[in-house]
Symmetry: D3
Subunit: 233 residues, 6 copies
């Protein structure tokens, strides 16, 4: 029984939440879902500023690393809840907290509501890795990683004037770029090693784009080829 | 098999979280728990500022009342998690999300860790009502309601210079005070009708105090009789 | 993706269960559901006589108020199970025990079976409040409260010959009537304060009718305007 | 880490509930538990009259066998809840609904409360079989099956004057007696084949006694050797 | 709302797993499901060789009977998971572990995926009994019990040359055959008493066939009337 | 309330299961636990040969990477169950399947049984990473990683005669060794990047030893300093 639905996994940078952009994006996503009835969207929310605040308080009071991971996950799930509420009738009401629950929610969404929203799932695993895991599990046709930058650069664009945005990178090139000294300094979380390993082993079609309302919606509608895609030789 | 443990339920105003007072209170509570080994503390966290922010965003995007209740509950549970982390080895790790889970966590805590922390449980029910429900369920020897004010006044203290703090009120007097016009204006959430009904039907020993670190810890240690107690004729 | 389904929440008085009327109602409801394929019915069962018996035994043996609430909830859930069995293929098999489970069951029911049945959910909250909560959550087009009386009266109809059934009341009028001395004496549970607060805040379209098979089915079919509706000025 | 606790599983006939005997038994059990601090009691409640009523209603409305099993289980769980409330602080608050939950509850009870109460667990399995399963799982030192009769008879005591109560039977003798025509007619549920098979394979020490307060409490205290024991050659 | 789906419950012998036949069967089942879009298949997997290995290790180390049941159940659930993966998009992803979960999964499958796969559910209950229980619960139109033999014989076919395969047996005839000495020796698990009781009480249409890919698929397609059916006089 | 228990996390190589060594280890572990009453042992089981078999079958039938992860997790949980059964009364009965469940089981174990056994938890995460995560979460005093080799070597010991076992390595040295070509060829899973990151960020005291019964038990008893420890500069 092959499904005709188009499945896209969208990772949203935590910095989106509570910015002006959030509201715009919610409106754009509703418009996209109205237009493309066969689209099934799984949205993975990051933690962002609220996560940093809660973790900061816990850290000052002597909490361990594992507890801070846990706080980060809870905040990302709260962000997921707000996004789900913002999408209203387009989104499944419940925020899955395990991969099994995600699959069940998605199963239900196939027959009705077009979107499922989740946050982090498991300590020791970034929301990027969660998004890659979900893409693999649901055999998504696209993993759209919306980050604070508009793609992958040859060098750190904040340092080097001649840094160029790459239209495509292989997983091993990306791995090398992420490890290079200059990237560490900047510290922007484009992708983590676990996510990259999953993308590579299952050849997940992936694109890294800027996390703004217009870029995301036009990419979802296929009107835009911004950002950097991951290619497999 | 009558237990010799002293069980106290402490409701914390949501405004405590992320204030300077929070850190002080966490330190004080650890000190109290070290001193009184037979004390079992169940802490109920309110939602506060973060709750208002999340609800504000959802509201602007058209979410319904029930969804906002849900967001409020999740934030109070997040606050509970931070408090639990701040108490370290004194608190059970998991935040109960139903009354059944609370009872089970408490059962476990009887043999070891001295504190259980929770937030809201159920839409349509304030965290004050949750705290009263828990007090009734665990037959707590005291329900300590730490609020933004330091007790119950004969009139609105922000309006009337001759308002006097009452040392004791009956449930029906409190009910009348809460309904009076002047109180509505102020809008401080001392107690809600459901909580009051539970306090009355099970004659729960209750005291309303100011939510600051010193008042709370000295009251827990029995060194203080501040605030207003509820009396049953 | 706006839904075209008509969602009605029906609260059934606990006194219905094990009366002759129960069987008739089950048959009528099946007929209504066959006729109106776009109707989605969420039924909330009260506790009734069995609840009173179980609570009576527990009370005699010294159980606390909270335990009695719990027994009441379990019995109402058992009543819900019998109703669900009586509706056969029209009803979802599982009785939700939290609001989250209700929403999930309803989500599934949207694609297939037309009815979900539940009982109480949470101590300290009447089944009336549950029904109001569910109505708010699912944005029901109607909350039908089927009680032991056939509507709201200006005075206690058992005492005053000139008592008149009102065709409509505002939430605050109803609140006043419920609190008046004469009503307390009679003690019939038309509506409780939490339910009323929810109805008011979300302007839930509500009607109070007599809990008999004919009144309920004809009201569901829109052939009847019996009882008292709640109006918002 | 061998435990020194004495573990007894007590199956209570459903007919006990809501009889005068129930209240007496609850009081006796509390007394026994106070005396024997090392006793851990797992009580399995049957369904009885309430079960028959609920099943009767469902049957009249066309419910299938599986649904009736389910109703029977729910009622036995409700009976378990009442017994647990009647035992107050001696019993774990939560009624386990799977064998896993029973083991977890028992684990907790080892450190504190002395009793766990449960009802049926799974369709197609009698509460007798549940009690045998629990006895096997917890390696109970005794399975006490309290039934409507005071032991196993050589013939149906209601028909034959010369019927004699047997002091001991082997599993295969009991199996033969249960299958004989005369027993079927009487229909009293001494033991079912699944329970017998479990008793036999794990050589569970078992005794069949009359379900009255005095017989049960004196047997628990070791002051009584009434009824029929199962012996293994 | 009567459903037009044809519901078949298929019990697979544990010996199938990891044999050559397994792969063939998976391919055949996919073909059958493609052809018969209105077919809903619930597959119950047995434990087989892996179960025997795990149980053997545990037994040598002194585990009790109940623990071995548990291991058998887990292995059958693992076998179920492999079958579910082998059916790819035709099967619900999650393996139900209680009857309630099975019903929920089936509910979802009614709208989309055509197959649900499960293993054992509960200690003290064979996978044959599980399959009968599921057949009863879902009111399946057929319970297909695929075993190591190709039907029920008048005598043990491995001992007696004149043993004849019966085209039909009544539950009581089958019960008698299963109990006869010669059958015990062979020990093949055609059916157990609990399963038979369920088949009898709900008159479940049942057929016992050989567990090979061709027999199963042709029986599902209605092209084959091999094996022995159970008849009710 | 600082605990005086010594907490050790022991990762067992999947290759142990169903080898002769397994039985010996179970016996040794029981002896160790009898001797050291204050020891709390959390055992993480790998998947081994059975995992490879199940994954092999699924792979041949076209299952995706995520499904194979899932099969590997289930098999490791089955191995955990066998180990738990082999430890009898020393181990908690239930196998945790999430980090939350692990913490709860451990909480209970603090008061009684000395061991908790688990397998994998989450797709995309090796059982090594699980063991590191658990060590971090429980603030274990030691993470003992029992693998197929007896420590970390300067070069691949199967290729180079002059390879030397190192008594200690830093996380970054180990990371470099794991990435070197020769190691990949051998493919033995000493440690994965996620586990290493956790060890590093929380400075978890870690030792890599040979997975045989004698080495493990003598290391647990503090009589042995075999293998390679991870050191933090």
């Amino acid at each position: 029984m092959p499904r005709k639905k188009e499945i896209i996994v969208l990772k949203l940078s935590g910095s989106l939440f509570f910015s002006k952009e959030f509201e715009k994006l919610a409106i754009n996503l509703k418009r996209v879902l109205s237009k493309k009835k066969n689209l099934r969207l799984v949205i993975v929310a990051g933690g962002g500023q609220t996560a940093r605040e809660y973790i900061g308080v816990a850290s000052k009071l002597g909490a361990d690393q594992s507890s801070m991971d846990e706080l980060g996950i809870r905040v990302s799930q709260l962000n997921a809840l707000v996004m789900s509420k913002a999408l209203g009738n387009f989104a499944i009401d419940r925020i899955p907290t395990t991969l099994e629950e995600l699959v069940e929610a998605f199963e239900v969404s196939l027959q009705g509501k077009q979107a499922v929203v989740l946050g982090g799932l498991h300590p020791g695993q970034s929301t990027n890795a969660v998004a890659a895991l979900v893409s693999e599990k649901l055999r998504a046709s696209l993993f759209l990683n919306a980050t604070d930058v508009d793609g992958v650069y040859s060098k750190d664009p904040r340092k080097f004037r001649d840094a160029k945005r790459l239209s495509a990178v292989t997983p091993s090139e990306l791995s090398r770029i992420l490890k290079s000294e200059s990237m560490k300094a900047g510290g922007y979380d484009l992708m983590d090693p676990v996510a990259l390993k999953l993308i590579e082993r299952s050849k997940i079609r992936t694109r890294i784009i800027k996390c703004d309302a217009l870029t995301i919606s036009s990419t979802l509608l296929g009107q835009n080829v911004a950002g950097t895609r991951i290619r497999f030789d």
